[in-house]
Symmetry: C2
Subunit: 348 residues, 2 copies
């Protein structure tokens, strides 16, 4: 993987940390002290704001496969999935701290690649990387990220504030990340059966990027603020549209009705799903990892969103908390089921 | 290990999280929203205070050995080592978020034991557990903890503020955690050679507790505040007295002289080291994991500390940044060397 390979043992834990953190750029005026001491120091948020905190652990073999996830992309994604959780609270990200556990299979250069991706995400999202822990592991790579953000005290958006009648909206297009994963898995199998084979990923760039280098919808949070809309509930789509819509309905004590023909799908996702003999709708409902935002707003906001290029109105909430309906393209009603990814059940 | 064993797969990731977090008690008035949504929400600290953040990753086989670390103790320790980092900034802990990766070797009951220890530490230290991520791992157990605290803006204590002439102090006694580990390792080897043998841990309770269930010196931070002393530098002793004293000296651009006869050692630690044919002084200098606080104060604070039961004055800082001296009991000068634990070098 590396042209050069320096064993981590030759520079030690402190040497590695120094190497990884030496060129970190801090840009948030609230950062008082970044990496290098026992802890980082952050000044309080501006008046009227609260701090929002989210944490995630990513494990090799469970959340990523290094056979096709380049380390730099992986570092980028590790940061982004946490920022996405903050966006789902209607908050804007400000800081992250990062933990890294590496087995001796990883070189200094590999750790630097991973950090390069994390730093890139931090620059892109104007987030300060203020703390870290780097250690060895007995096997494999683990990344833990804790992200902080700020939100106006009266605009923090939970999952449980939706009301019957509220419109259900999603940002962007769904299913792309899942189809990107299918393409990568196919090429991995081809490669495993014929190790000389070159992977054929031509034309799938968009889908691969959705899977390997997703983005957090900070722009959606900013757009909602511009529209002066505070959603009644919000969640990010990590496990598929069905699972997340049911989370919101259940937390808010409502039922939900989604319209299949309103679910936003990209042309390439649709075509590729067909070519793989997969139902494109199922890819959006159960695929996950799109990191789009799913939110609800009262019906009287309809005018704001009906032709907005960033959003699709995919359904609405109902009174009956037991209702979970998908209205198909041909007008049939079927049960909306959460079949999202659950690592413990190996149901992927 | 468990009388009962429920596979995590039978209740799934969401079921496990619900089970682990159902009885979390929140006691900090700044906690606006705890676990259960995309992120937690925390109100700003009181006026004049800053937020302090620290993160740690603990990996099975590197930082702990489940052959002798009971899961409940391990959970407790995982929280405490992070709170200790906050104390080292002269801050008081307020919140934690926790990430847990478990292989299918672990049952629901095992995860609950681990969480019971974490919750116990949170109650003991009046810290709110406000967020978590629980996931599966391909092998072993990993725990990531990120801890938050608050400190008066003018009292945050870094490593780099010490001056030549400053006194070097430590809280409590050193070497106990390291000797506790030696006792556990000895019994592990006995057990591995004769699996029927019962471990002989009688009389080592104090040392074992230092290793398995350390405490964070929040009381030291409170005492310093009572004494109206702000240390010029501070660090917690995770890697041994020598390594930490050199960190402070080097960050502050000073040299350091420590007196062997001033290093605080417990009687049991001393005797046990002798019985194990180990140099007790070396155990304190290089042993680590005591989580006591090492700090510096100007000499004019001498009166505050000279007979204080909580502290020992172990040396002082000097002008020459190359000086790193240990004055032995018999008045000889030897080089103070950092031989603390470094996972990547397997030097333990």
């Amino acid at each position: 993987m590396d042209a050069e390979r320096t064993e981590i043992g030759t520079i030690g834990e402190f040497g590695l940390i120094a190497e990884l953190t030496k060129d970190i750029k801090l840009q948030n005026p609230r950062t008082v002290l970044g990496v290098g001491d026992d802890a980082a120091i952050v000044a309080p948020p501006p008046a009227g704001k609260q701090t929002v905190v989210s944490t995630d652990l990513l494990c090799e073999g469970i959340h990523f496969d290094l056979m096709y996830a380049p380390l730099k992309h992986l570092g980028y994604k590790a940061i982004v999935v946490n920022l996405s959780d903050l966006c789902a609270m209607n908050a804007l990200p400000t800081h992250v701290v990062v933990g890294l556990a590496l087995s001796n299979r990883f070189s200094v250069e590999a750790a630097k690649e991973l950090y390069a991706g994390m730093k890139l995400a931090c620059e892109r999202y104007k987030v300060d990387l203020i703390g870290g822990d780097t250690t060895s592991s007995k096997s494999g790579l683990m990344i833990s990220v804790t992200a902080f953000g700020e939100v106006d005290s009266d605009k923090a958006t939970l999952r449980n504030g939706a009301k019957a009648g509220d419109l259900v909206l999603v940002s962007g297009e769904l299913g792309g990340a899942f189809m990107g994963l299918q393409v990568l898995e196919r090429e991995k199998h081809v490669f495993q059966e014929a190790p000389g084979a070159q992977p054929d990923l031509t034309g799938f760039d968009g889908l691969l990027e959705r899977q390997l280098k997703p983005e957090a919808r900070v722009d959606v949070v900013e757009e909602l603020s511009k529209l002066e809309v505070v959603p009644t509930s919000m969640i990010d789509i990590s496990d598929g549209l069905a699972s997340e819509a049911l989370h919101i309905a259940s937390a808010s004590g409502c039922g939900v009705r989604l319209h299949e023909d309103k679910i936003p799908m990209g042309e390439k996702m649709y075509e590729t799903a067909r070519a793989f003999n997969l139902d494109p709708t199922l890819c959006t409902l159960s695929g996950g990892e799109d990191y789009e935002l799913l939110f609800t707003v009262p019906q009287d906001h309809f005018e704001h969103f009906k032709n907005h290029p960033m959003f699709s109105i995919v359904g609405y909430l109902t009174e009956d908390p037991n209702e979970r309906t998908l209205i198909t393209r041909n007008g049939m009603e079927t049960e909306l089921k959460a079949q999202g990814w659950d690592g413990f059940n190996e149901e992927h």
